[in-house]
């Protein structure tokens, strides 16, 4: 999951494994560096949680994208359509369950939100299977065609969404229990941001567990490094890829629901807009690296919020600036994947 280095062992001694912790240290260093610039501890706490929540949602959407690239070198510019679809499905489900979302009872709110998330994941996951079969499979190993056809797929999907839900922006209000803030000392932290952080951490933990502790996870990690060798060991990498593609699409759908609730408004362009952020995150993290994607997403979320507060005009390009800085330091990303 992460890069490691070793010190040269003395004769007969075991080498010392050292995890590359520098990229992980960037997060606390950035947060601490922002504190004196922001000036107020309460504002800093609010911004930090906003940045972490944004980063977590972006990670949920980007994790599948980075694995899809890592496994088959497929750059899927159509990923955004699953995000848009997830968000619009949430509009429909939560709109129909308005009685439950407006209730002050947490359980009723959850009874509306959880099915919306599950439905979004199921539909986008299933659509991911179709997208892989119809759009991606004919252009394996042809990067230029992949870019063109996946972008085309996203445009077609976006237009279909407009045909079903209309071209206008639709409101996606937070359920009543998710609204408002919790006070931490003098700092107000929005409840939904805390939920997003918790959910994001949970998904990262599950992904980490699957990749580190299960044989399917080992196969995915091995396939990212050398898919030809995985096939030579007797495993069908195409099947693995289809599974990862569907899971990544489902996570994009879930991310779409969360991003829609975060913005509280959904437009047919929501996926295309966030797509840019996803590509920045997976490039910063190191293409194919889930751990790198996680750190990259949190970095992007924190930078967007701190810079948005300190220098709103710079915030317009802060994500690109972050990418330039990271790639100047590590041209292959924070945790480059060694590929053959």
């Amino acid at each position: 999951m992460s890069s490691s280095t070793t010190t040269v062992p003395a004769s007969g001694a075991l080498p010392t494994v050292k995890l590359d912790r520098l990229p992980m240290l960037l997060l606390p260093v950035l947060a601490l560096a922002a504190l004196p610039l922001v000036g107020s501890v309460s504002s800093w706490v609010t911004l930090t949680f906003a940045g972490l929540a944004m980063g977590m949602i972006i990670f949920i959407m980007a994790s599948g994208l980075t694995l899809v690239f890592g496994l088959m070198d497929v750059l899927n510019f159509g990923h955004g359509v699953f995000i848009t679809l997830g968000a619009f499905l949430a509009v429909t489900v939560l709109g129909r369950a308005a009685g439950w979302t407006e209730s002050e009872h947490l359980l009723l709110n959850l009874a509306a939100v959880v099915p919306a998330m599950l439905l979004a994941m199921a539909v986008t996951g299933a659509l991911g299977l179709v997208f892989e079969r119809v759009i991606i499979r004919p252009v394996y190993g042809q990067p230029l065609k992949q870019i063109m056809i996946t972008m085309g797929g996203m445009i077609v999907g976006q237009e279909l969404i407009k045909a079903i839900w209309g071209p206008q922006a639709l409101p996606l209000p937070l359920p009543a229990s998710f609204r408002g803030s919790l006070l931490m000392g003098e700092a107000a932290v929005e409840k939904y941001r805390l939920i997003a952080v918790a959910l994001g951490l949970g998904i990262f933990a599950v992904l980490f567990w699957v990749l580190a502790r299960t044989k399917v996870g080992l196969l995915i990690r091995a396939g990212v490094q050398d898919r030809e060798m995985v096939e030579s060991l007797g495993y069908r990498i195409r099947r693995l890829f289809v599974g990862v593609f569907a899971a990544g699409s489902a996570l994009a759908g879930l991310g779409g629901v969360m991003w829609g609730l975060y913005q509280q408004t959904v437009t047919p362009e929501i996926g295309a807009e966030v797509n840019v952020l996803l590509f920045i995150v997976i490039i910063i993290g190191g293409l194919g690296s889930v751990g790198g994607c996680f750190i990259g997403a949190l970095l992007l979320g924190l930078v967007a919020n701190y810079v948005g507060f300190l220098a709103p005009k710079v915030a317009l390009f802060s994500d690109i600036l972050l990418m330039v800085l990271v790639l100047s330091w590590r041209p292959q990303g924070l945790y480059p994947v060694v590929k053959r």
């Binding site: 494994v17 080992l218 495993y235």
Partner: protein
């Protein structure tokens, strides 16, 4: 020569615009170690990759245990009982030695499910692997990576091992370790097709030998006959064993 386990009949392979194999005819006898010798670019690695289905034969037939496997996909060929150790060793460097072995043990869902007796036997052949069991494979030395690559191929019984230049870039002590390991493997009746350029290494292990040049087999016979005929060595390989020792 006993009944062939693997047969190549008139195999041609193209890689893009390049015509690499020009009608390879080769038989690998069951239970024996066949060495494929030849200069750089003779087509040895392409032959192994064509057998594994990593490159498709454009013409000809590859038969394994009597069945035509020419059009099969690589995973199916592997599942038919052929293990492959590529020239670059194909080690998953971010995975530990244990995880590399677990992936090669297809029938094991978890590390605990691997055959302990067989694992002990492998540790006997390559003690370094036990020592570095929990270490990322990327930290191993070149020789240890080669040991891991071979160990992965034998973690479960396979009918045929295809091994591409196992002595390449290794220190003499490690090469001796490899020779001892292959000798022990031969005693288990494992059939091996070994690509080599190190004739001294090949001579110590081979039962049969085939020499390639220009994408064809130009000689096939017993290793003993080639090792004992300096003129033939000079003609086929441009060397004599006496000058190589």
């Amino acid at each position: 020569m006993s009944e062939p386990l693997l047969q190549l009949e008139g195999v041609h392979t193209h890689i893009g615009a390049y015509h690499i194999l020009h009608g390879v005819d080769l038989e690998v006898a069951r239970g024996e170690l066949t060495v494929l010798l030849g200069r750089n670019g003779a087509g040895k690695t392409t032959t192994l990759r064509t057998i594994m289905g990593l490159w498709r034969a454009s013409k000809g037939c590859v038969r394994f245990q009597g069945e035509d496997i020419t059009a099969r996909r690589t995973p199916e060929i592997a599942r038919a009982g052929i293990a492959y150790v590529p020239e670059n060793m194909g080690i998953f460097s971010d995975l530990t030695v244990r995880e590399n072995m677990l992936l090669a043990a297809r029938s094991a869902g978890r590390a605990e499910d691997m055959d302990c007796e067989r694992l002990d036997w492998i540790f006997g052949l390559f003690p370094a692997l036990k020592r570095f069991w929990q270490y990322p494979a990327g930290l191993l030395s070149g020789g240890q990576k080669q040991m891991l690559a071979v160990a992965r191929a034998i973690i479960e019984p396979r009918h045929l091992l295809l091994v591409d230049e196992p002595s390449k870039g290794l220190a003499p002590a490690i090469i001796q370790n490899m020779i001892a390991a292959f000798r022990e493997l031969k005693q288990t009746d494992t059939t091996i097709l070994l690509v080599e350029q190190n004739f001294n290494f090949a001579r110590q292990l081979g039962d049969q030998v085939a020499v390639m040049d220009g994408g064809r087999i130009v000689h096939a016979g017993t290793m003993a006959a080639l090792a004992g005929d300096e003129a033939l060595q000079q003609r086929l390989l441009g060397l004599s064993l006496a000058s190589h020792q």
